[in-house]
């Protein structure tokens, strides 16, 4: 009896020896509460800790066999996207052949096509039952299926550019979705109006267009003008508009704008998952150099966390004096090189960084003051590409609003490309 009692007790001592003493509550000092809280937590998890998080979440990459099948079979370019921009007017008209030829004869492999253009028009006939989509369609591309067949035949990766919040057409049709100034739709000095990024109606409308683009066969949806108008920080108190759900957020105007823009991208991506398309966003180049752009609501990191590809618009002509480069348009290599380093560092800090695919300048900014611009040709375009390659960025898009791209550019150069292929 006594021996067994001893074994009992020793067993108990060994068993309890591994547990925390509950005496911590008696500890003195300013950390007592914290320690008490630790004891509570350790009591809760004494044997095992049950997570409150979902067991499973929707995977970031959805296999093709589970997503919408548009019937268009075009793979993501193995060497990374190297593309050009085409207006709907160009690709739906006489200029199409010239653009196809450029891609077919060079290392270029992709084309960004307007599906909702800078005015706000949806550029091809869709099957959408959304009245706004139907109302605002102007079919510059009168046979989108034929265009997709051409892309398929030439193995050109099709990217749908969708101008989101710059939408003069919708703003004038439905002023309540826009920003008003003395009761009239506000427009900037170029006569462009914006719709309100706080409006969920606007979100849904744009995503509906994106879904139609995916159904048509585009493999990627690229959202442009995902932002408030430039200089909005100077007129946000004067214009009339609703902040919708963000009104009661308790945050200031700047944070509300950042949240609205970021949330739209997140929303769009989730909505587009069933379609298996990649999602990319165009963003101001300087957004990567500051925590967040206060007026336009773009936060580079937050947007990057919600996209597959981030496309900074780093046209040298668009920068003021920056990176100690006083006339950036004259130094395309240096400008891109400096930018790329900043961006790389930022993307490296993200858990799941998107692919970097900057927009490069293939136009001449003759509107700049004399002495601050130069004619852009082969050397200048190649200099920008070289700067990207030198910073291990192997994707790019070329921008020229008129779609007249420089001939004779060597897009591959002699870079040793360490390309991460897309699954």
């Amino acid at each position: 009896m006594r021996t067994k009692s001893l074994i009992f007790l020793l067993g108990g001592m060994m068993f309890f020896g591994s547990y925390d003493s509950p005496l911590l509550a008696e500890q003195t000092g300013g950390d007592a509460d914290e320690e008490a809280s630790k004891v509570e937590r350790s009591e809760e998890d004494r044997y095992f800790s049950v997570s409150d998080e979902d067991l499973l979440t929707l995977p970031r990459v959805i296999p093709d066999r589970l997503t919408y099948d548009s019937g268009v079979e075009i793979e993501y370019p193995e060497d990374g996207v190297k593309g050009i921009f085409a207006t709907a007017h160009s690709i739906g008209g006489d200029k199409a052949d010239e653009l196809y030829d450029l891609i077919n004869e060079t290392a270029l492999n992709s084309m960004v096509v307007d599906v909702k253009d800078d005015d706000g028009y949806v550029t091809f006939e869709t099957e959408s039952e959304n009245e706004r989509v139907q109302e605002n369609t102007y079919d510059y591309i009168n046979d989108v299926d034929a265009m997709m067949e051409d892309f398929e035949d030439a193995d050109i990766y099709p990217i749908a550019r969708l101008v989101v919040f710059k939408d003069t057409v919708l703003a004038n049709e439905e002023p309540e979705l826009s920003f008003l100034e003395k009761g009239e739709v506000w427009s900037n000095n170029r006569g462009e109006s914006f719709v309100n990024p706080f409006s969920k109606d606007v979100w849904e409308y744009n995503v509906e267009v994106a879904k139609e683009a995916a159904k048509a066969g585009f493999k990627e949806i690229q959202f442009d003008y995902v932002r408030f108008p430039e200089g909005f920080e100077n007129r946000d108190e004067d214009l009339e508009y609703t902040e919708g759900d963000y009104e009661e957020s308790g945050e200031d105007n700047i944070q509300n704008r950042v949240a609205a823009v970021t949330d739209f991208v997140d929303y769009a991506r989730e909505e587009l998952r069933p379609y298996g398309v990649k999602v990319s966003v165009d963003i101001f180049g300087y957004a990567a150099t500051i925590p967040e752009a206060p007026g336009i609501g773009q936060n580079f990191s937050k947007i990057s966390e919600n996209v597959d590809i981030i496309s900074s618009m780093i046209y040298p002509s668009h920068w003021g004096p920056y990176f100690d480069i006083h006339k950036p348009d004259l130094e395309p290599y240096n400008l891109v090189n400096e930018y790329a380093q900043v961006e790389n560092e930022l993307l490296d800090s993200l858990e799941e960084p998107p692919i970097s695919r900057p927009w490069l300048q293939d136009f001449t900014a003759s509107y700049l003051p004399d002495g601050e611009w130069m004619e852009y040709g082969v050397d200048e375009v190649e200099a920008q590409i070289q700067a990207l390659y030198d910073n291990d960025i192997y994707e790019f898009l070329l921008w020229d609003a008129t779609n007249n791209y420089t001939e004779g550019v060597n897009y591959e150069l002699d870079a040793e490309q360490d390309i991460v292929r897309q699954e």
């Binding site: 067994k4 009692s5 009992f8 067993g11 108990g12 068993f15 004494r46 044997y47 997570s51 979902d54």
Partner: protein, 223 residues
């Protein structure tokens, strides 16, 4: 799970053990029962931790399986998620064994309390432990039932992911259903956790009332 055949066999064994020890029922049987309850408690804790660890890996396993973009991987039960299912099933089977042993020890304690001399035993404490063993047994049983049902659901879902008509909506709904079911399972896990803590307290109470004779103890240690 908790199959009648196994229960019956174990119950018969327990009954035989208890019957054979009727005359000497007392501290020896009580010690054995307490030790086994403690051991099963530790087993259950270990099985919980192993199941939770496997659950943590599920997301990445599913992502890697899906990334293969091969329906046959799921249809033929070759995806990694099926290994996880099998391992968790095995752990649940082990937990079921612990559950059954708890049942036996509960019965043994009952016999001890019915037959043992009061002056030899900390009757109140053993009675408390007996009650607690029953309570732990019941809650573990509920958890096993819930988790078994969930394993069946997951098996079916992962299998159907290999079907030709599986689509995005099916994937979304399946994941949502798994997460919803997980809510109830986790609630029950918390309940079991509390029962384990209470069992520890009940065991401690029994042990605290079994004071050692120091002289005997020292003699025993020295011998």
């Amino acid at each position: 799970m908790k199959g009648p055949t196994k229960v019956t066999v174990l119950m018969v064994m327990a009954g035989t053990l208890a019957a054979g020890c009727n005359e000497s029922a007392g501290i020896e049987d009580a010690t054995e029962a307490v030790d086994k309850i403690q051991a099963q408690k530790e087993n259950i804790v270990s099985q919980f931790n192993d199941i939770l660890l496997l659950e943590e890996e599920m997301q990445i396993e599913l992502e890697e399986d899906l990334a293969e973009n091969e329906a046959a991987l799921f249809a033929n039960r070759e995806a990694r998620v099926f290994t996880s299912l099998d391992e968790r099933q095995s752990l649940l089977n082990d937990m079921n064994d612990a559950y059954l042993t708890l049942e036996i020890e509960h019965e043994l304690l009952e016999t001890v309390l019915e037959n043992g001399g009061e002056e030899e035993l900390p009757v109140n404490e053993l009675s408390g432990l007996q009650d607690q063993a029953a309570s732990l047994h019941n809650e573990v049983g509920t958890y096993i039932d819930q988790y078994q049902s969930e394993l069946n659901t997951q098996e079916s879902f992962f299998n159907d992911l290999g079907a030709e008509d599986a689509d995005f909506e099916f994937l979304v709904n399946g994941i949502e259903a798994i997460n919803d079911a997980q809510g109830d399972i986790r609630d029950q896990a918390h309940v079991v956790h509390e029962e384990l803590k209470a069992a520890e307290t009940a065991i401690a109470a029994v042990q605290a009332n079994e004071q050692p004779d120091e002289e005997t103890a020292l003699h025993k240690e020295g011998s």
